[in-house]
Amino acid sequence: MDQSLNLSRREFLISTAAVGGGLALGLQLPFGVNAAIAADVVPEVNAWVVIRPDDTVVIRVARSEMGQGTITGLAQLVAEELECDWSKVSTEYPTPGQNLKRNRVWGAFSTGGSRGIRTSHEYVRQGGAVARMMLVQAAANQWKVAASECSTADSVITHQPTGRTVTYGKVANAAGKLPAPDVKGIKLKDPKDWKIAGKSMKRFGAAEKVTGRQVYGFDLKLPGMVNAAIMECPVFGGKLKGFDAAKVSGMKGVKKVLRVGDTAVAVVADTWWHAKTALDALPIDWDLGANAKVSSASIAADLKAGLTASQAFVGNKSGDIKTALAGAARTIDAEYAYPYQNHACMEPMNATARYTPDKCEVWVPTQDGEASFAAVLEASGLPADKCEVYKLDLGGGFGRRGAFQDYVTQAVRIAREMPGTPVKLLWSREEDMRQGRFHPVMQCRMTGSFDANNNLTGLHMRLSGQSILASVRPAIVEKAGGKDPATFQGVAESGEHSLGYTFPNMLVDHAMRNTHVPPGFWRGVNINQNAIFLECFMDELAHAAGEDPVAFRRRFMAKHPRNLAVLNAVAERIGWDKPAPMGLHRGIAQMKAFDSFVAAACEISVEGGNKVKVHRIVAATDSGYAVNPAQIERQVAGSFVYGLSALFMQECTVKDGRIEQENFHSYNSMRIAQMPRVESIIMPGGGPIWGGVGEPTICVAAPAVLNAFFKATGKRIRSVPLKNHGIEMV
């Protein structure tokens, strides 16, 4: 097929809809038909805001939407300062190529680390405020009055002395031609005066998702598109030796069988199923390499040795732990373990690429459009002005689609072999399970010392396991003298993941034990295991001291008032001071993560010693500010779907160097009937720092449930997932 590749964006959108047929008609297209047209014919007021003559407003947001509601929240912040009519607001993504050309006017595209709102709230609000000032100035110029005499509300500018009014749409064109005022002089609104932000506005795109009209990456159809299935060497570090293309090239629909880089082979066909079927039938010869000898058992043995190794990186310390342990009246210790886990996004990895020597375009669900763009630059070999990335909403990201753009690189490499033809690369579920960037494995030995009066005198937390940054961002590890600072999330000395207790003598250290399994950032990252290690052991210590777990924790929280506030909030709401209802047992946990303070208290029942029903979780979040409270509640509940699935069911095991789990039959997720009632307490404490929401609470569900399980059964479970202990979620 001869693609002219000069399709305008609008023509492309229209042709996409037409080719897609009945289903595609009426689809909400990837970058929004309306937005595309608006940008074509109406000049923007500034980079953030486009206003049409009919007063509809398009707000541009660089962060990616993957179900977390960040687009709605960020648009609320822009609209708040813009003072526009919220009912007329829609959003669109700028492209990474535009961002580069415009000196990164939209800031970073990276959407992870619960940073969507907390690291961009200021500049998006400034963007809205600047646009408002330009609109007012345009109206004032038209009326020949002073801008200071004009006020704004709901997209209407009023000249106070005369009562004259004009809507934003009427002056947007003129406003766009004015010089932008300096953001330095702009005073943003006090959150207590917010009218749009801080309110539970309905989420953009919800109707499309509920009705199935949303176009995800794997729904995308371009004119003349072909489909690719891929398999990368299942043993990490292995290589592709060869394959017998002749065996499958005659199969139905097959167009091409090709090597992709050093490690993968792909089949391109008319339909994805034909590609996948041929790939399954393709004889492939792998050079598996030395890693083929590695197993979960050999990894566990390496980590176990690290628990008592003399060399370890110090992450946090106070007092003198050695002396405390040596002089203790008694010590208690416990060993914990956390497995590899996969992100298992509902939408497997995919990217659609169209390459010619003059232009390479990629459509991709990505947590970081700029990282995708960088991958396109490298894989296409073309300069930046000949590349572009169009972002699509994600069918799940959880950290898989941010720092790792392997599927983008693959798609471009395949497309380069078929110039002019759009190629959609879609991973099978099996490929997605095998080629994850896995939650790292970690073991932990916790040791606590008591004096003769049952006072806790010391705590040693020895982590042993995999560093994410050592392979993903070695520069950070190098800068830290070999230490991976991210390993200490939730137990760090200071910063966004600081420890919420002060102990008289304490040491948190990490024996780094890296493996050949590629680690990645899995929603919450290292807080998941650290919260279990610390908060379950706090329960063990309380039990050993003969004290109530909440009262025991409070002893060490005098210097951590916001941690204490969320702990108290959940304790009070669940009725910690009163006995639990008959048959129910309670557990509690708290942590600071991503600059938010979070706590959870749960009620569970246990039948037959192993059938666990989680009835209720009360969760408190102090994220400093709450831009959309309803969205925070959903994020908290969603984090428990992820966190409880991980606790009960999810583990990736390694055999012969490869991940054994291939689909949801062996890597399960909880179902709606298993979901507990979630009560969210949103208690924004203000201050200069804004906290995140997407990840923090994920880590407190598991230790709360484990602590409740001990209350119910007297058994401490110290390794995840619970299925390995014969424990089921019901």
Binding site: S110, T111, G113, A374, G402, I476, F521
Partner: protein, 160 residues
């Protein structure tokens, strides 16, 4: 003569003329001055170039404006030079503002190198300016620079 060579010769003529008219100082001003960089990089540059003026031109630094993680970034430095026994590139150096070591590449060349061009991969610790410097056989130093954005790993902005 190739168009690029014409351009190069014209530029050289221009520089030489400018040098004659305005003297050393003026030449540096016209051809581009050493630009503001963090101190460590600047002192590393000084270790290589001494007190010589660092002029902009002749050197071409090719590096992507945006890279995924900075762990392996392809970089090409080429220098306009006939590479003859009397007019050649003596060395090429690459400096970074925010890497642990400011000088990441130092390559010695001679007339028999044939082409004054190197391609390799380097690691970049962060978004930063990269500076390429070439020392010519006449003792002059020439340079080119580029800003590179390292798109940060999603969950890590505060650690960097």
């Amino acid at each position: 003569m190739e168009p690029a060579d014409v351009e190069r010769d014209q530029r050289r003529d221009f520089l030489m003329t400018a040098g004659r008219v305005a003297g050393g100082l003026g030449l540096a001003a016209l051809a581009g001055q050493a630009w503001a960089t963090p101190e460590t990089m600047q002192s590393a540059v000084r270790r290589v170039a001494g007190d010589s003026a660092l002029r902009r031109g002749k050197v071409r630094l090719s590096i992507p404006p945006l890279v995924e993680n900075g762990n392996s970034v392809e970089i090409t430095v080429s220098v306009d030079s006939p590479m003859t026994a009397t007019d050649y590139v003596k060395s090429i150096h690459v400096f970074t503002e925010k890497n642990p070591l400011p000088e990441v590449i130092g390559v010695s060349l001679g007339p028999r190198a044939g082409r004054a061009r190197i391609t390799t991969r380097i690691r970049l610790a962060d978004s930063q300016q990269v500076l390429a410097v070439a020392e010519l056989s006449d003792g002059s130093f020439w340079s080119d620079s580029a800003d590179v954005i390292v798109t940060l790993a999603a969950c890590l902005e505060s650690l960097i």
